[in-house]
């Protein structure tokens, strides 16, 4: 554990961060995966621009909400991030998109550990 602070209020706890970039039409799939994975929260950036294997994607289009990219951030422990990776890997076999996993640190550990167990429901 890498404690870089002398004050207990500022103790840093190691966690994993996942960043996911997919086409706008996959937003719902990824969001549901994150909801079911047990992470306590996530951030969504819509209308993301950038270049990937299929070329450049313009960010904000006035009359097209489907063509742009969407980016997700989530921070949690290794097991929940691993569950997200498992649920996303098959998608990237045939859909464009990327994910990055990195080490990160947080102060308020409880805030990021979220639900005990993963969820799986549906209609």
């Amino acid at each position: 554990m890498s404690d870089t602070s002398h004050s207990p209020e500022h103790t840093l706890h190691p966690l994993k961060k996942i960043e996911i970039i997919v086409k706008g039409k996959r937003e719902r799939f990824v969001q549901e995966l994150l909801d079911r994975s047990g992470v306590s929260g996530y951030t969504i950036h819509r209308n993301v621009a950038g270049r990937g294997a299929s070329g450049f994607h313009e960010g904000h289009l006035l009359f097209n909400d489907e063509a742009s990219l969407v980016m997700f951030f989530a921070v949690s422990d290794q097991s929940k991030i691993q569950a997200i990776i498992n649920g996303l890997s098959p998608l990237f076999e045939s859909s464009s998109g990327v994910m990055f996993v990195s080490d990160t640190q947080v102060v308020r550990l409880k805030k990021f550990l979220g639900a005990e167990g993963p969820q799986h429901g549906g209609a």
Partner: protein, 812 residues
Amino acid sequence: MPTDLSVLRARVENAAKVLGRCWPLQSYIAANPLAGLEKLPFDEAVAQGEVLYKGRGYPNVAQLRAAWETGEIDAAHLADRLDAHGLTDAPAQLLDQMETAAETPVPNRSGDGPLNRAMAKWLAAFVDQGQATWAMPHRHEGFYTAWRAVARFDTTLAHRDRLRDLPKRPLEALALALSDVEAAQWETTLRYHMAALPGWASFIKWRSQDRHDAWQGAHPITMTGYLAARLHTARAIGQPVAPANLFDEARGATRNGRDQPPMAAPWLEAWEATYREQLLATLERAAPAVDTTGVAGRPKAQLVFCIDVRSEVIRRHLEQTGPYQTFGYAGFFGLPMQFQPYGSDAQITSCPPIVDPKHRIHETRSRTREETAATHDRWVALGQAGQRLIKSLKHNVAAAFGFVEASGGLFGMAMAVRTLMPGWLRTQQQAWTQHVPSPDTFCDLSLDRALAADQPEGLPLGLSTEERSYYAEAAFRLMGWQQFAPVVVFTGHASHTANNPYNSSLDCGACAGHPGGPNARTLAAVCNDPAVREDLSARGIDIPDDTVFLAAEHTTSTDVVQLFHPPALTKAQAGIVDQLRQDLRTARANTTAERARVLQGSRPAHAVADTERRAADWAETRPEWGLSGNAAFIIAPRALTAGLSLDGRAFLHAYNWRTDDRGTALETIMTGPLVVGEWINMQYYFSTVDNAVYGSGSKITQNVVGNVGVWQGNGGDLMTGLPLQSLQVDDLTPYHHPLRLLAVVYAPQGRVSRIVERNAQLRSLFDHEWMALTVLDPEQGNRRCSYQPGGTWAIPSAEPRGTQDTEPTLAL
């Protein structure tokens, strides 16, 4: 979630990629049935369509022979394309060879008939939107749960005891059903089951992804739930979940389904080249006069129509009647909104399928016109009470017999009148409805933001001043507006037809298959707002004080253009509006006369009466041709096309390259309306080349199911495309020419190049030949530059036709 379940969930998502989306009848969206395969080159995608859906992807030999014999396929273009494909036989021989090859029977889908029948039955019961008198139980718990509760009592399932102890959750149930299938084969198996009933599966795909559908909110259905039910039904019938021939078919799919390139491809290309060459040559001749063509001085009125191909005809005829200027703009007028009509709880999404609605607009009664509203309410309540009474008498077990005895004669007479005198009936109906004030005469639109009226799950009600100014500015910038007439009319469109489940397919596609009037009224009200005008003035768009904005709706079946209740007008404006009403009547007469030439059984001299009859006749299978014939999308100032007859085959979007240095407006047009145009074009294309698979067959044998779609006869797949009568003159004679869309842009080629380069979706559509792109470059003497797959441009020289494909290309 256990790993295998999360992987399975991703496999379902992957397998569903091959499907397009199918919207319900109330908001029929013309979409490419092979939308799920659009990332592939056109030829590969149609080959996969042959494997997955047994659908033909090129025009059939009868269609090609007809086009060849009538000269729609030019001999020089055909020779050129045959040569490019390495075919050396004479055209007549090639047609005969195709005819012989077509006699080989197409294999039917493997024997899962009972499974398809069972699933169609349960799906129809579940998704019912008010057609059934007795609803399926447990629908609020979702499809899988509702099916699980009742399917075990289905006596048509020989092994229904296998359905007794299924898992409660659909994903676990699906995993259980796949327990005997290797994980590596899951996706292929799931894709096979989706493609078995592609119409229903496409409908589920749409509904499960739609955030705003009230029926999905009340009765949720997911692809996982459907597949779990389907695979367990297969087991209950005694069928294998993964049929033995499944993986052979999958191998076929990876081989593109056939060993030989399609013989029809060069014929299609030649057919397209013939049309495109004629169109482009005409536009090239008109281009030098772009800056001088049009109304001299300030026009009396300006009318903005939808880009729809049907607008081209009436715009042309209206312009001939007086000093009017017309524009083409996406028929939702740039307003991504839901509309709630007066007296209704329904929230109608009124924007294109690729745009998410962002605002709610309500029609609310005005305090200053209470008396008119009361009159309207009284008549409507009377009509509704009568309908309720008749329905309850018909459906009540005890009353039904007596009701039939007592009212049979009356209903018989009504039927005779509707059948024999539909035109007279319409006249009577119109006379009657004149007594009932329409909501626009006593309602206001809820433009003001009302925080208190916002709902937690709903969209914000109204528009802030900033938002209003934004949408108004977008409209004028996209169309390259330069001066304002005293009267500006935003003209939406709708179609009036009788007994037509496909009515919404004739309404405005940019409004998600709904009438465009509400959007037109909203934008007119926005532009009449003094605060908006002040904002626009600060941004360099000066709207004169004597300019008023009105709204109207063009009824495409009769070509009536009806103005909505106007705001207060000055004397001068009122005079212009009176004259405009007269000129719209003249334009209507001329437009219907032009349309009568191609509507079988119609005579130009009686065209107005004939279109009225068609709109009211419950036995009429072809009230209008809709967007049949569409083949081009022209992004240019009206001056380029004014005076040309484009035969109602071209979408027209106004654009002024001089007022759009950065290309922002053009990028919006190309990534929005043009993409929607491609959807519509592909719907018409595939519905024509294989009406049984990608269309919906004859209207005569269709039945509406659950108020969501149609099927043929009394069961089977949901039919997703257009009916035969919307595309063909008769069983053998096509009306719609199945040509892929040509986009023509009047702008500097470098600007267009940059836009294509930075929008992957556009580039994919052009590179994979789902549509074509040609630029007329005003900075290079209106030179024609044609985009080539891969990102280069072909520039024809002055050589004779037939050599243009060998021109040098420019790097992007």
